[in-house]
Amino acid sequence: MNTRELTKGLTIASIIAAAAALPAYATPQQGPAKAPSFKSEKCYGIAKAGKNDCAATGNNSCAGHSKVDADKKAWIFVPAGYCERIVGGNKSAM
């Protein structure tokens, strides 16, 4: 095997040797550290990748029209989501 250097001390041979010594990986999902894997079709994926169509919107489907509050900022400081269950993570705690 050719041992000309890739960088100082590093050669393709050394990389191949290192790779060959690793446990065989069947799929890219089995990464160097076992990572949690999620089937994401419910939230992302093929069916959710953008709905371009040529349909108009009926009156009963324009649910997004919330009234604009006079004091827009008020509710931002009172999140109603998982944020309520987060401890720390505020600027004051930093």
Partner: protein, 270 residues
């Protein structure tokens, strides 16, 4: 009225703040007497206004369901309404609309909910990689065959799987995503700043996301940016560690091709 003027007026009406009645808009004044249909045709343009706004809001809600879970639907919708008003789409492909929504969230929520921008940015990328397709990876055999051309190989760039991303984060948002995906939203999570990098890998509807060591992130990031193998490896000071990291990437199926682009003028391409 010239066609361009008609379209100026209609564009103004369609994109105007929904709080403003059509009849109060410049565009409606410009079109006075030009429209026909029913008793007050300009008011019928509400159908177009409504579709424009509702469809874009829906697009953002669909793209950021985890962020909606995190901050609550009302906040997400209000942020989306602002975003649609301030950053309307510029291309006829709604699937691509919203890539700068995380920046808008950073500007509006970053002070009080500092982990939200990272979270939304990761969510956008999760959406992207979940529709990627992976390609057969470069094998050790292929690499072995090139073992005699270290000098050429050093100057090669590589193609990384299209569904892989390395993202810098300042907060451990991967813990929040785990809660989101497992549906465990009752237990509290402690969030403290934790700078680092997340590796996202996705293909055909499946995604993984994990925190990776800085040197692994740097190496992969360099390859994703199109640096040569030598340049990328140089980012890892310890040579043994560098070869191990690259070996792990190869064994993990990260690399699908050695790039055919000419690496330098006087050397043959890879």
């Amino acid at each position: 009225m010239r066609l361009a003027e008609v379209q100026d007026a209609l564009r103004e009406i369609v994109t105007a703040d929904p709080a403003r009645p059509i009849v109060s808009l410049r565009g409606a004044t410009a079109l006075a007497g030009q429209l026909v249909g029913g008793v007050r045709p300009s008011v019928r343009l509400a159908v177009h206004r409504r579709h424009y706004r509702a469809s874009l809001l829906e697009a953002l809600r669909t793209k950021f369901p985890a962020t909606a879970w995190l901050v609550g639907e009302p906040t997400l919708v209000a942020m989306a309404e602002e975003f649609v008003q301030q950053h309307p789409p510029r291309r006829p492909c709604i699937a691509e609309y919203g890539d700068s929504f995380p920046q808008h969230l950073a500007a509006r929520l970053g002070e009080t909910l500092p982990y939200v921008p990272d979270f939304a940015l990761v969510e956008w990328q999760l959406g992207q990689v979940s529709v990627a397709v992976d390609a057969p990876p470069l094998t050790l055999d292929t690499l072995s065959a090139l073992a005699g051309d270290d000098e050429v190989l050093a100057r090669c760039r590589v193609t990384v799987q299209h569904g892989w991303r390395v993202l810098p984060v300042r907060w451990p948002v991967e813990r929040l995503f785990e809660r989101f995906f497992t549906g465990d939203d009752t237990t509290p999570t402690e969030m403290a700043p934790a700078s680092g990098h997340l590796l996202l890998r996705g293909a055909r509807g499946e995604v993984t996301l994990e925190r990776v060591a800085p040197d692994r992130a740097r190496l992969l990031g360099a390859l994703l940016e199109g640096l040569t193998l030598a340049e990328a490896l140089a980012s890892v000071p310890d040579e043994t560690r560098a070869s191990l990291l690259l070996a792990e990437l190869i064994a993990g199926g990260a690399i699908t091709a050695l790039d055919a682009r000419r690496p330098a003028q006087d050397l043959p391409s890879c």
